[in-house]
């Protein structure tokens, strides 16, 4: 939560910020409250509600950013969050963000919100796109017709914010205008239903009976649930069962669209569909044959940059830590403290921080691809493939988000309305290679495949995608039998990424990485150091140390994969967070403080070669990403069975593939 203060606050106003997906709600939320919510140029970025505050002209305004929804009848979990908030939490003002460049589609929700009877304000966002297209909006005509304040905004540039806040304050202090859609022949039905609803004083005092009547005709499960245990339901249910509901639903939608057509004619000049720059780009970028190859070369380019462009900066950080470690080893007493600081803390944490340049470059590239709208195209390209493996195209979005971090990616599956599709996507997402695995890949690809490290890292990402696809296919075939639900995806227009947007996202991710290095990874490497130093008097990391004893318990398990006890320990600690694999190896190999020294130590280790290094990278890629990811899987599925399945299945797949690599590749190339 964050807060922007203009002056002393007095009156509280609660605002529900809603709208269709990808219309700039979170951008507007950030601009109004000074927050840094993640924004992205694709639908479904926000999956849960977020609050922020703004003190404005004596009012303390709470703004609640809601997930995007096309209608007040929710079909997916994230849409339900939005509709339930608007209906149940009784906000003072509903602020609908409207994509001005796509008025017709956005106004459908406006019609439903108007019927709900709450004070409303429309933020006519992305007005710049409308104007660049040569269209112009007559906001006065729109206001007159809808009886609702409408303010021109460009959230990404902070345009129109004061006018919008003035409108919100004004709307909160006045009763809403009584505007309604006329439903022709259905009016008689609505009137009958209203009469029945009005008999229940408690319900009719909370909700507009006209709004409830239209919801019932549309078979809204929320309103049905609300009324099903009331006495009036005995009259309503038989009445509804006599209706041709499908026909009535279509009549309702037709009536709303004819009002929308009138609004568009009155308020929008020259708003005729034309072929845009985005349309032309899509002819090529989502082309049937070229789309996926273009995506693959861009992905490969991204990993080449992530690996190679970061190298001098990595070397610089590496030499800094090496100097620091040497200084500590020479100047700190007693010896155990020097060892803790140099071998444990500086070596372990340093070996993780060395990869900060890679993380920054990767998130810069991901940010550019996401903000430009290209990642939404990738989801579209994947739709056909997704359908073939039994998933809907919507599943591609969480899977692609998994490249950054699996945790928000698993949460993003809330946008998938079908429970089976959602569970399959949750089970497949942990195989998408997140940024925490990158240090492991960079270390081993750099040490054993230096001339083609970028390509090897690219292969790791491809293996992750293939395993995710195979997992989804297996689950669809043997566990969640059936067809994937239908999916319609609206492609956002291509946009020029802004330095601020990409920079903020990259900064947040880099900060999280550094914070993780200073907390959980620090604890992990100190634990490894302690186990490698105990019992007292033992050789550091020697055969008699506790860490070796633990490692040797697991060694028989990993021996068939070509790994020794040190790798076993590093992988074991990698359950906490994948970065600890690198930090742990640094500590266990006694490589001091330099990543170069660790690379040399790994190369000098006779038991490691290209084959088992590749197997180790694959194992790190496929077994559970981290404890937090398992926690999120439980949180999203509320099922121990599926959480344990995800963990066990990941380990089993990682084991089998690493085993095949070593057992087949070892004799051939080892």
């Amino acid at each position: 939560m964050s807060e922007v203060t203009d002056e002393g606050a007095k009156k509280a106003i609660r605002v529900a910020l809603c709208g269709n997906p990808n219309v700039g709600k979170s951008s507007l939320f950030n601009a109004l409250t000074g927050s840094r919510q993640h924004v992205g140029n694709w639908p479904g970025v926000t999956v849960e509600r977020k609050s922020g505050y703004r003190n404005y002209r004596g009012h303390r305004i709470e703004i609640v950013d809601l997930p995007g929804t096309y209608s007040l009848i929710a079909s997916a979990k994230d849409e339900e969050v939005a509709t339930r908030y608007i209906i149940e939490e009784d906000p003072d003002v509903v602020l609908q963000v409207v994509d001005s460049s796509n008025l017709e589609r956005n106004l459908y929700l406006t019609m439903q919100l108007m019927e709900f009877g709450k004070p409303m304000v429309l933020a006519m966002n992305m007005s710049d796109i409308t104007e660049e297209r040569g269209d112009s909006l007559d906001l006065d005509a729109l206001k007159r017709f809808l009886g609702t304040p409408a303010v021109r905004t460009v959230a990404s540039q902070g345009i129109g914010l004061e006018d919008l806040l003035d409108a919100v304050v004004g709307a909160a202090t006045k009763p809403p205008a009584d505007r309604r859609v006329g439903y022709g022949e259905l009016e008689a039905t609505i009137s009958d239903l209203r009469e029945m609803i009005d008999k229940d004083g408690e319900i009719s005092s909370r909700f507009s009976s006209r709004w409830m009547a239209t919801r019932l005709i549309e078979n809204d499960s929320y309103v049905r649930r609300l009324l099903s245990d009331r006495s009036i339901w005995q009259d309503i249910e038989p009445y509804l069962s006599r209706m041709d509901r499908e026909e009535s639903e279509m009549d309702l939608a037709d009536s709303r669209y004819s009002v929308i057509d009138e609004v568009v004619v009155l308020s929008c000049r020259r708003c005729k569909p034309k072929r845009s720059v985005s349309d032309n780009m899509d002819r090529v970028l989502v082309h049937k044959y070229l789309g996926i190859p273009i995506f693959l070369i861009l992905l490969w380019g991204a990993f080449e940059l992530t690996f190679s462009a970061a190298t001098p900066f990595m070397d610089l950080i590496d030499s800094g830590f090496a100097e620091l470690g040497t200084w500590v080893a020479d100047n700190v007493q007693p010896d155990w403290l020097a060892s803790l600081m140099a071998d444990g803390i500086i070596g372990g944490v340093g070996s993780v921080l060395i990869f900060l340049p890679n993380i920054i470059i990767m998130f810069l590239i991901l940010g550019i691809l996401e903000d430009s709208g290209y990642l939404a195209r990738v989801a579209f390209l994947m739709d056909r493939l997704m359908n073939r493996i039994g998933l809907q195209g919507k599943s591609a979005i969480p899977l692609l988000m998994g490249f950054g971090c699996n945790i928000p990616a698993i949460m993003a599956t809330r946008s998938i309305d079908d429970r089976k599709d959602r569970l399959i996507t949750i089970m497949a997402t942990p195989f998408m290679s997140c940024s925490a695995r990158l240090p492991v890949f960079i270390l081993f690809a750099g040490a054993f495949f230096s001339h083609m490290a970028g390509t090897i890292i690219f292969m790791m990402y491809m293996i992750g995608i293939v395993v995710a696809i195979v997992t989804a296919k297996l689950l669809r075939t043997f566990v969640f039998k059936g067809e994937p639900s239908a999916f319609i995806m609206e492609l956002p227009p291509y946009r020029l990424p802004t330095i601020r947007s990409v920079g903020v996202h990259t900064w947040d991710r880099a900060y999280m990485y550094v914070r993780k290095a200073g907390t959980i990874i620090l604890l992990g490497v100190v634990a490894i150091w302690a186990l490698a130093s105990l019992p007292f008097g033992v050789e550091y990391g020697g055969e008699d140390s506790w860490i070796a004893i633990i490692g040797k318990v697991f060694e028989p398990l990993v021996e068939p994969l070509g790994f020794d006890w040190r790798i076993a320990v590093a992988l074991l600690f990698g359950f906490i967070a994948k970065e600890i694999v690198v930090g742990g190896l640094m500590t266990l190999y006694g490589a001091g403080e330099s990543e170069d020294a660790l690379t040399d130590a790994l190369k000098a280790d006779g038991s490691l070669n290209q084959v088992n290094a590749f197997g180790l990278m694959t194992f790190s890629l496929l077994y559970m990403p981290c404890v937090a990811a398992a926690g999120v899987i439980w949180g999203e599925t509320r099922s121990w069975k599926w959480t344990l399945f995800s963990v066990a299945y990941g380990i089993a797949i990682a084991y089998v593939i690493a085993l095949l690599i070593w057992q087949i590749g070892g004799p051939l190339f080892g």
Binding site: G24, S26, S27, N30, A31, V39, N41, M126, D128, I129, E132, A155, S156, Q157, V277, S278, N280, M281, R283, V284, L285, H287, Y289, L290, P293, I294, L296, I297, L298, W300, G301, E304, L305, S308, A309, A310, T311, P312, D315, L316, D371, S372, G373, M452, G454, T455, F458, P493, Y494, R495, L496, P497, T498, R500, S501, V504
Partner: protein, 147 residues
């Protein structure tokens, strides 16, 4: 077809030929052929480089087939050529920076020619096209993303 579109198609045709040809050279090098002439053309024999060149070449080639939207393919082909030129320049710059910071010992005798590859000089050609048709390729024709 306008005169400008005709020029664009001709230029795109030339780039299609060059990108596809060099893509094939890279692929030949990648599967083990070690001809001297490949070295003279800075072909590194990298399979992924070959794939990149072939895909960009294919984008231009598809543009030749399309009657209505050929120019969109040509422009995106040029944009991809420029993107990969930028990537290769950054990689070259990173190596040069390493040389500058750590000296030649650390860089094991790296020279700028080691980073030279067909994607680089073909990218320069794509940039020339991008400059000629900059008005149609300009990113300013897109709106800005949210912050």
């Amino acid at each position: 077809m306008s005169k400008d579109d005709r020029y664009l198609t001709t230029f795109g045709g030339l780039l299609a030929f060059l990108y596809l040809a060099f893509g094939v050279f890279e692929a030949i090098g990648g599967i083990g052929y070690d001809g001297e002439w490949l070295g003279a053309l800075c072909v590194q024999g990298n399979v992924m480089d070959a794939f990149v060149l072939l895909v960009i070449g294919a984008v231009f080639a598809f543009g030749l087939r399309e009657r209505r939207d050929g120019s969109a393919f040509m422009l995106i082909g040029m944009a991809l050529g420029i993107v990969f030129l930028a990537i290769y320049l950054v990689l070259m710059g990173a190596n040069a920076l390493g040389l500058l910071i750590f000296g030649s010992e650390h860089m094991e005798g790296w020279t700028a020619m080691d980073s030279m590859r067909p994607g680089l000089y073909l990218g320069i050609l794509a940039t020339v096209g991008g400059c000629i048709w900059r008005r149609r390729l300009s990113p300013s024709r897109l709106s800005r993303a949210g912050a």
